[in-house]
């Protein structure tokens, strides 16, 4: 039986007492780029964290290729938000990428030549080979994001979660990242990306999850990323957004 890379049923999660996610259910199709879209505070990052078990769930089931998360850790890659860590940490870009192999190494074993080679390959894929030995605070924001991405590549996963990888990066890096995501897709991997820029949704993604505490809609971009659904997601808070979405739709038809 063929299982979906990610199946979520009735997922709810809360920080403190206030639920930030209520009864989310969807099944992600394999080999697709999936955008998670919604306003600030809609629970986009929380959704990823709840799936990865970084915050406790209130209820719901998550299966990854038909099995619970705990059994599938090695096929999951994760790119956290760039601000979540201290970039002044005494470590090099190569070192950070090698951390992607730690899950495969297991307890006590140190990364060796093989891990180093693999990490170098991943750095090359994001165009960062020349910066391998650089202390991470001496990289630009876009370069830091690429290092994070290379670390996720080093995890050699089948299902990736990326929390706002396009925030604070320049146009060149954004293009580089999206090219890489498409390569992953071609290899049959599934990538979920928390995304903010509505203008690029149609260009980047095959599938969208529209979120505002509850699931508004999920499905292919063509059928789901509609002005009507966006209006419901953003609660009519952005008049300009509505106009933009309409004009884009009109342009397309």
């Amino acid at each position: 039986m063929n299982h979906s890379p990610l199946e979520i049923r009735g997922l709810s999660a809360a920080y403190q007492k206030k639920p930030v996610l209520r009864d989310i259910s969807f099944t992600a199709p394999e080999g697709s780029l999936i955008g998670i879209i919604g306003p600030n505070g809609a629970g986009k990052s929380t959704l990823i964290k709840a799936v990865l078990g970084l915050i406790p769930r209130l209820s719901g089931d998550v299966t990854i290729y038909g099995k619970p998360y705990a059994q599938q850790r090695k096929i999951i890659g994760y790119v956290p938000q760039r601000e979540s860590i201290d970039w002044d940490f005494p470590t090099s870009a190569l070192d950070v990428v090698m951390m992607g192999r730690y899950g495969h190494l297991g307890w006590f074993r140190r990364p060796g030549g093989q891990e180093r080679r693999m990490a170098m390959e991943c750095l090359a894929k994001v165009g960062m080979s020349d910066y391998a030995g650089r202390q991470i605070s001496q990289l630009s924001g876009g370069q830091q994001q690429r290092v994070f991405l290379a670390r996720a590549l080093a995890q050699d996963a089948s299902l990736y979660f990326m929390d706002e990888p396009f925030v604070g990066v320049d146009a060149a890096t954004e293009k580089a990242i999206i090219t890489l995501l498409n390569e992953l897709k071609q290899q049959g991997k599934t990538v979920l990306v928390v995304h903010h820029d509505l203008n690029t949704v149609k260009e980047y993604f095959d599938w969208v999850v529209l979120l505002n505490v509850q699931l508004v809609a999920s499905g292919s971009v063509d059928s789901t990323f509609t002005a009507d659904n966006l209006q419901r997601t953003y609660g009519g808070r952005l008049a300009i957004l509505e106009r933009d979405a309409h004009s884009e739709l009109i342009n397309q038809t």
Binding site: Y78, P80, I85, D86, P90, T91, S92, R110, P111, R151
Partner: protein, 314 residues
């Protein structure tokens, strides 16, 4: 033979010196991780929390056994960290204030208990007050033995779990995503800190134990951009400070070891702050000056070129 050298001939003094160096070494290592995890003050809180723990352990048992002290201090440290966590989670008080509150409460309670013990007439109590500022000279062979063994054990654990501790310090969220038991590793690190503190307070004292945890780590950070090098360097700085403190203290001057050790490690820090390559003040000044000179030269040469061109045109 100079007078100061005599200390090295006394086997007991040599033992004490070795113990304090190993203590400085292991506290430097543990301190590196807590500094990088932005938990510098946690060591201070744990050290202060240890005092009532040690006092209660003494009151219950009536003996000065380092093993019982360890249990007492670990229990107190556990309650203190729980208290800090509880206050931070369930009130609007931030962690720094929570630390300050818990730290002073435990130290206050500890001081009250200590005074009570001193007035209780228990003949065995002499030396407990040394816990405040430390007196390495009062250590006996067994204490040094325990100090050495635990120090080596701590260094061993940090070597074995280096990869895990590194990941936990750098990116705990990612570590959890990889399936590492972050909460357990967190507690383990806290426990190692409690062990260092308890083993160390007899030599260095409660009040200044935190300095031995953090100052060598901060100093080491100035010299390197590699975690492994930093950890080892912090250990060496700690050992050096421990040696200097013990040496001066044991050398007849009868000054307390803790303050001397802290002064020594602060001296190392000042040298690092001033003269470390790259991050030190002098180095930064030089880099800035070179950049400025190069820029002005560049400006001057282009200006000269312009001038030349204009003259030619005329």
């Amino acid at each position: 033979m100079p007078d100061w050298f005599i200390i090295f001939l006394d086997p007991n003094a040599r033992w004490i010196l070795l113990g304090c160096m190993l203590l400085g070494f292991s506290s430097g290592i543990i301190g590196s991780f807590s500094y990088l995890r932005k938990q510098s003050l946690m060591g201070d809180a744990l050290a202060h929390a240890a005092l009532p723990g040690v006092c209660i352990a003494f009151m219950l048992s009536g003996s000065k056994s380092i093993g019982l002290f360890l249990i007492g201090a670990a229990a107190a440290g556990f309650i203190a960290t729980f208290g800090i966590g509880y206050i931070t989670r369930h009130t609007r008080i931030k962690q720094d204030s929570a630390l300050a509150i818990v730290l002073s409460v435990f130290f206050g309670l500890g001081t009250v208990l200590l005074t009570h013990i001193q007035h209780s007439g228990n003949s065995n109590q002499s030396g407990l007050d040394k816990f405040l500022f430390g007196q390495a000279a009062s250590l006996v062979g067994d204490d040094v033995m325990v100090m050495s063994v635990t120090s080596l054990l701590l260094a061993g654990i940090c070597t074995l779990l280096y990869k895990e501790f590194k990941l936990l310090s750098f990116d705990p969220g990612f570590a959890r995503g990889l399936g590492y038991p972050v909460a357990f590793l967190d507690q383990l690190m806290m426990f190692l800190m409690v062990v260092v503190v308890v083993v160390g307070i007899q030599a260095v004292g409660i009040v200044l134990m935190a300095a031995l945890l953090i100052t060598p780590a901060v100093s080491a950070r100035y010299w390197t951009e590699k975690l492994g090098v930093m950890v080892v360097l912090a250990g060496l700085f700690g050992a050096l400070s421990g040696m200097a403190g013990t040496f001066i203290s044991a050398n007849g001057s009868n000054l307390p070891t803790g303050p001397l050790t802290v002064l020594a490690s602060t001296a190392v820090f000042l040298v690092s702050l001033g003269f470390a390559p790259g991050r030190g003040l002098v180095s930064k000044l030089l880099i800035h000056r070179t950049a400025r000179r190069r820029y002005t030269q560049q400006l001057a040469s282009t200006a000269g070129y312009e001038l030349e061109r204009k003259e030619k045109a005329l």
